[in-house]
Symmetry: D2
Subunit: 347 residues, 4 copies
């Protein structure tokens, strides 16, 4: 099979990881171009990927490089525009989450996708590809824990990352869109249902800086779903023990948990601090396999003409829930989400 | 020191355990009388406590037995009346939770307590005496995890108890008053703050019978507190693995968890089911030490003329939060709790 | 039933605990006298047990106090003599482990016991009364893990206790008799079999002081049993995380573990040190329930004329294995234990 | 850099995995040929690696394929011969453990390696490349747990694999060489010391078939090292919960454990069986990363002319300890290992 020629756009931490994955670790794919607006990142790419064309301009890359697909790791507020450009250029698209940060752009990009039905557009909710989350989904669907009653899902960055988070604040779309969107997506996927209402809380418990952006450093949300299940989400910036991504599904006949202790390997330490495990300190460490498996899945979809396992509609649902949670947080109110049949979401 | 003469009233599972504790395991106390309206329970008591007077009638016990105090393990809707009768008879009172099931009776009984300032009245929120919860409280108060942001607290009975729960349904005050009241009390105690709003969800996921009582078999609630902390509570009837009482406090500098795995002892089993721990199957198994320590504390308060560590005001706060959660559940609404300075609660 | 009148002899840490148990926490027993050669301990006893006769001399206590039984928490090298004196005085005896430190005295005391067949003599291997160990024994006997192949058992004191251990060195009977004797007893009890050979290792890894006593600060031993099962024992003075008493039984169809993480309660801490549990720091903390339950069992045996669940023969077996291990350690040799039918042990 | 052309020899489970690793997941390497004496395996290889030459004969592959190196996953008793042939053909060699099964062939192959000093020969003790074991080694070397006193290491295959083990019996080199050799190597590597004596035990607890080969289905060994540390090894065929590879290092200031619960991912299940984790079921599942990292290290050594991180001398040490343990097992004796300075091992 001729390998899929992929251009990696955006070479920040995750973008660089995606580029390396494409270059060295996938079957049936090759890294055919990289693109970054940041000179440092381009210089690093020249070294890491000798012989691979490096672009400073996304439009030029689309025009000049010989590509079948692009992988977008660009800022959240560029996603929709970048997807549309790639579609217009005939490329398949893999785009990091969230789909967009505003309702209109999401609706537009969904329309655009429908206008290019033969091009794959896949959203980067990588947790769906994590072996642990996949096992939970499989057991849940097999009825092993009965009827799901509650999903609890936490997404908290390690405390060590707080300086970066403060520096990034001007570009942040807020906790709900940046972080909790993963949990909203997980709950939709796990429950196979859509939320009907949301309330939210939280605040600036440690860093007032977030208040200027109508955000908290840690936030919580409580949602009810069409199927009567509940979702409780906690998202934030400062878990002392590490990258705290944990999820629990409580059913009538059992519970499934992922990542209660986000241990980074099989080591246990017994010393003056007690008996302890050290934890993952970031998304690349925790989700390395998931990130690789999702790109491999994307490559296979493109080559085999299959539908994307995570769609722009999924992206839109995540964004609209996050926006509703944001409104509930800001207004201290109970926000109802329109009862929407799944098929209608993209209308 | 002359031992405190205590009458144990109500000899169901917990009442019998209290009686045994008084008879055999406390310092400075003696079981001076027992009382039950149930013939079986009286017969069993004759055997377990030879020589101890057994009464079928509470008023008669108060009138005839030589007592300093009573321990009430009677039905929830009798608590307030029984407390008032004991106070009138000059007794100290230890009463099981909840204080009452209706606002008026709680307010009345608080007034009655104020009229008997030299008699101890203590509420049975035993979790405050559990060594694990005490350690959490101590570390939290010492600032070890920074500022508390979230309390998450679950109270789910073991699945094996569901038949009993269904049989008891006519007498149940509902999930929020029966079970979650413990979690509400814990959060107030841990956070040293009062809630300002509550929403609730849940349903009859497995047993429609609860719907006839405007209740669910499992319910959830999300509360905001004056100090901006959040509380998420999940309470229910059917934890497959056992008696699931677990609590987590997430602070800006760390987290503390109690009972994530409610293991019943130090045994771990490695077999075809994986690597596993078996769990406590009920409150007596899990909270044996706490139940004993709280009665010992009550005895010491009575003998030494000290204030009760858990008061009727605490009881009233638990009940009013539970009633608000119940309203939120039934109306699918956001219920605001009056901003109440602690001192005003009993007015 | 008339309570058993018990005299507690030796009021060190464990002796005092036994006395308190007898005074306050048992059914059908009363603390009728205490005895200690240490003035401080006697003074403390006057305060803790007002009204209870306090003796400085064991013989006098046996002569003067109105007793049915004695509980001996005296130094290891006095056990045999003290048991014989109590038997001569007509008392039932509960004696702390080890039975003795020399072969001859053990053989003599067994003969003495046979000469007083109506008096209970029970050895203090309290682990057999721990709820976790009991569950392991029950599951093993029920065949749940198939045929036992290996017992691994550790007994290490907390690092914090090292100064005490060094001060106590002149009185120590050595690691194998002081500590590992518990593990030898556990293995005999769990396997229902006797060892046939032993090799040992270890050394003074941190404290040369032990070498002067032909001992190590940490030692290990590997034994084979008549039933072909193996035993690996590790015993020592300095576990950084706490009181490390852990045991594992590996069978052909599963394994059972006790105390892999000797956590002291249900609390888990998530902070900059990782996710951790704090551990028990000593035998009283870890085995509180076991110590109480074994004394309750002793009381019941005395009152009901039943055989002791842990016998002087068990004590002798523990001692003889410990002595063999000591020889193997000192000679760096493989020591064979005489194949001894259980019934012959006391001959 | 021109990629290293590698021929994969032996295409059983592990051999096939190595071939896939070389073909798809490494940097700077290419799978240039494969070789198997088994027709099925060759047919599968044709499909998996289209375009890669497939050989039925090792000598012919060495003669005809354009190779820089070979990876040997052939039967244990062929290793030494295959290494010598590859060296004669000018190839670098990566060879699976154990180095050999007889003393003479190990000594010969070491001499042969010394005669080809510019060719890399690396042994496949992959655990040294596992991230968890590496962390243990790093912490141990950094002095974090003080002086090592005991290594305990278990290697037990999952019960599900017993039929395969029985079928393979005629080709087995015995538990000590097949399995425990990993633990012996780990201990040498972790302790940086050599053993001086060994005793062993075990038996046919479930399957008499092993007795015909002077072997047990489960065996244990106790070793003392030059640096006074102890090693306890348990190896066998039937862990009910899965692939039980666990190791513990106890030091004077702390302990480090790897794989106490060999959980296969981050999922925890709470159901009628308790709270449990499911475990890895085999070496490929558990050591996937280690197998890849060791081959990547081999490739880098070949390309950069560096010494192998795991040598034939390491292989010989593992084998000679395993042979001594085997003798101790068969004779029920204490076997002394010659005190051998590391440099003398290959003489």
């Amino acid at each position: 099979m001729k390998p899929l020629r992929v251009g990696a756009v955006g070479l920040g931490r995750l973008g660089k990881f995606h580029a390396e994955t494409l270059a060295f670790h996938l079957r049936d794919a090759e890294l055919a171009a990289v693109c970054s607006v940041t000179p440092n990142e381009r210089a690093a790419a020249e070294e890491s990927f000798p012989g691979t064309p490096v672009f400073a301009n996304y439009e030029r890359m689309l025009a000049e490089a010989a590509l079948d697909a692009v992988v977008l790791s660009t800022p959240s507020d560029c996603h929709c525009a970048h997807i549309k450009m790639a579609l217009a250029a005939g490329q398949h698209v893999f785009c990091e989450k969230p789909l967009g940060t505003r309702e209109e752009e999401c609706v537009e990009v969904m329309a655009c996708c429908r206008a290019h039905p033969n091009q794959v557009v896949m959203l980067g909710f990588m947790r769906r590809f994590d072996p642990s989350y996949r096992e939970v989904k499989r057991r849940l669907d097999a009825g092993e824990i009965g009827r799901p009653m509650l999903v609890r899902s936490y997404s908290v960055d390690p405390a060590a990352a707080i300086d970066g988070a403060l520096a990034y604040l001007p570009h942040s779309a807020g906790q709900f869109l940046d972080m909790a969107v993963h949990d909203f997506d997980l709950a939709r996927w796990l429950l196979d249902s859509e939320p009907v209402s949301v309330v939210a809380g939280g605040g600036c418990y440690a860093h007032e800086a977030f208040a200027a952006h109508d955000d908290g450093d840690h936030v919580g949300a409580f949602l009810k779903f069409e199927n009567q299940a509940m979702l409780f989400v906690f998202a934030g910036r400062m878990a002392a023990h590490g990258y705290q991504v944990e999820t629990e599904v409580i059913g009538t006949e059992g519970s499934l948990r992922v990542g209660t202790v986000p241990q980074r390997n099989h080591v246990e330490i017994l010393d003056g601090h007690g008996v302890r495990r050290l934890c993952s300190q970031g998304f690349l460490e925790r989700f390395e396999t998931a990130y690789r498996d999702e790109l491999q899945a994307f490559v296979q979809c493109c080559l085999e003409g299959k539908a994307a396992p995570v769609t722009v509609e999924d992206g839109w649902c995540g964004t609209r829930i996050a926006l509703a949670a944001q409104r509930a947080y800001r207004d201290d109110s109970l926000v109802r989400l329109p009862l929407t049949a799944r098929g209608d979401l993209a209308k």
